[in-house]
């Protein structure tokens, strides 16, 4: 009898995702094929989030800050850096002139997407980010119940 082990299942899912990413990388933006191959993971992502996530989420405990050199909130550096990235993206987006002179994240991503292998890698990373998000949003033992 053939038994599906967890490593085999993981390898199969990874192989399937790689194959799907290669197929998606072969599509051309603004085509029906690109719309369909992108829409399928988006729909699955939304359905997985609705099915897997608790209705009333309990935020997990704060990461334990180190004793030395700890100042402020553990998420603050990420929030600040994200704010700077968003601000610079807006500056570049709104600046008069060509996109070549004022590159945005989108225009740089377009340049990456012109290379088949890189586009497949980015697509693969995007799908696994979706998987990570769904897994992260599930109820976990360290959740702090609301009073």
């Amino acid at each position: 009898m053939f038994v599906v082990t967890r490593p085999l299942l993981t390898a199969s899912v990874v192989a399937l995702t790689v194959a799907y990413s290669l197929g998606a990388a072969a599509t051309t933006p603004f085509s029906v094929a690109a719309d369909v191959v992108t829409a399928i993971p988006i729909v699955l992502f939304a359905v997985a989030a609705v099915v897997c996530w608790p209705l009333h989420p309990q935020p997990g405990p704060l990461p334990v800050p180190g004793a030395a050199g700890t100042r402020g909130h553990p998420y603050l550096p990420w929030v600040a850096l994200t704010a700077v990235v968003v601000a610079w993206e807006l500056v570049e987006y709104l600046a008069p002139g060509s996109r070549g002179a004022h590159p945005t994240l989108s225009s740089m991503a377009d340049a990456v997407d012109r290379i088949f292998v890189l586009k497949a890698l980015v697509f693969f990373g995007w799908i696994w980010l979706c998987v990570l998000i769904v897994r992260s949003g599930r109820a976990h033992p360290g959740a702090v119940p609301e009073p």
Binding site: W78, P103, K119, I133
Partner: protein, 64 residues
């Protein structure tokens, strides 16, 4: 002008790498990226914005 723009993007990219490395160092007090994702995915309002943002990013990158 584009050289300056690309330089700023490079600095921001380097800052992300530095912050990521710092988060892995013990006692830095900076949350790891996985912890940031977990926090966003478990916030009642943030998780919706987060999911929509990631969905939009995929659509914008690969479809339109």
């Amino acid at each position: 002008m584009s050289a300056l723009a690309y330089a700023v993007w490079a600095v921001l990219g380097a800052a992300i790498v530095v912050l990521w490395l710092r988060s892995r160092a013990g006692g830095s007090g900076v949350a790891r990226p996985a912890q940031v994702v977990r926090r966003l995915a478990s916030g009642p309002v943030w998780r919706v914005a987060f999911v929509v943002g990631v969905m939009f990013a995929g659509w914008h990158l690969f479809a339109r």
